[in-house]
Each structure stands twice: as C-alpha cells, then as structure tokens.
Symmetry: C2
Subunit: 110 residues, 2 copies
C-alpha cells in the first residue's frame, strides 16, 4: 500500500460514526442492510447511506444486493491487510530513525 492509499484508508476510517457502523455490521454479520444500521444510529437514512458509500469506496465493506435490499458486510481481510500495511509503514519509520541516529553518532576514528 502506498502512502496515499494508507492516508485515504485512514481518512475513511477516521470518523466515529463510520467505526460504529463497522461495529454494527460486524455484530450481525449476516443480512444487515442500510435500514438496520440507520435504526441503530440516530441519523438520517441518507446520511448513513453516505457513510456506507465512503466505507464501500475504501473497500472496507462489501455490498450484496438481495431483492430490494442491500446487505453490507465488513471485509475483515481488508481491515487486517490495512493494519498490516500500517504496521509495516510505521515500523519502517522506526527503523529509518534508528539507523539514522546510529549513522549520526560520532564514529570511531577511521
């Protein structure tokens, strides 16, 4: 994952309502539709739909049409892929910092 992709994913997840939606979807993994989420959230249906779209565009959830309703499901694989990428990214930063600090210490006379 590129830096921009990580940033985009963070942005998508960086909203309390969207995290809550992920929790709601996870709690009833099978057959959870937009209305079900709206019932839990004290927000307008259109607002919830927008949040779902953000999560969908980020690839964190998936949609399955079933008759007139759309069932949403969390893509846990994507979530863990993201946490993995993030961890690697930050680890890399730490490693760079360490090697940089080492390089800048006074060297033994050559």
């Amino acid at each position: 994952m590129s830096e921009d992709e990580i940033a985009a994913m963070m942005r998508a997840l960086g909203h309390p309502v969207r995290l809550e939606i992920l929790r709601i979807l996870s709690a009833r993994a099978d057959s959870c539709c937009c209305n079900d989420v709206t019932d839990c959230l004290d927000l307008a249906q259109s607002t919830v739909s927008q949040h779902l779209k953000v999560l969908l565009d980020a690839g964190v959830i998936e949609r399955h049409a079933q008759g007139t309703r759309n069932n949403y499901r969390v893509r846990h694989d994507r979530l863990s892929g993201f946490t993995g990428a993030m961890e690697r990214y930050f680890d890399q930063l730490g490693t760079d910092a360490a090697s940089c600090a080492r390089a800048s210490r006074p060297q033994p006379a050559a």
Copy 2:
C-alpha cells in the same frame, strides 16, 4: 483507546502530507525543525506549522524548544501503541462477527 480516540488519531494521520512529515522527521531523528520540514515539502511554512500542530495535538510527535528553534521528533511509542489499539479493535470486530454468525446458525434441537 476509545472509538473516538482511534477515530481522532486516524483523522490526524489521514493526510498524505502528514504521513510524509512523519517520514521526514524519522529520517533525521535528531534536530529537525519546522524549516527543515518546510524545505522538503513545497508548502508554505505556515501550512507546515499547522500540520505539525495537528500531529502534536494527536500526540504523534513531540516538540523540544532549543534556543530559537523547535525540534520535532516522532513518538514511535505512540505510533505502535496506536497500531496495537487499532489491531485489537478490528480483531474484536472479527471475533464478534464470528461468534454472531455461530449464534445465528440453526441450533441443534434443545
């Protein structure tokens, strides 16, 4: 970390420039000031200062005044703490989903 705290942290990190700033700070862990960052970034000094403030408020970096300049450093402990919290959060979601799916399967007749 609460859901809101995780969301706030994500939000702070959910901007490509701020991730880049983290990289820049990590690359020269000792004595990197606002101007140093600005030199790397093709952005106005005021803009960089704002981004630094966001990262500072999120607790991802720390500031050390040194004469007239302020040195910034990445708080890798906080970063790894955050990735840990996030991982636990998402793992929890996955676990809930699994147990929920199990519970909703047809039960053997009682």
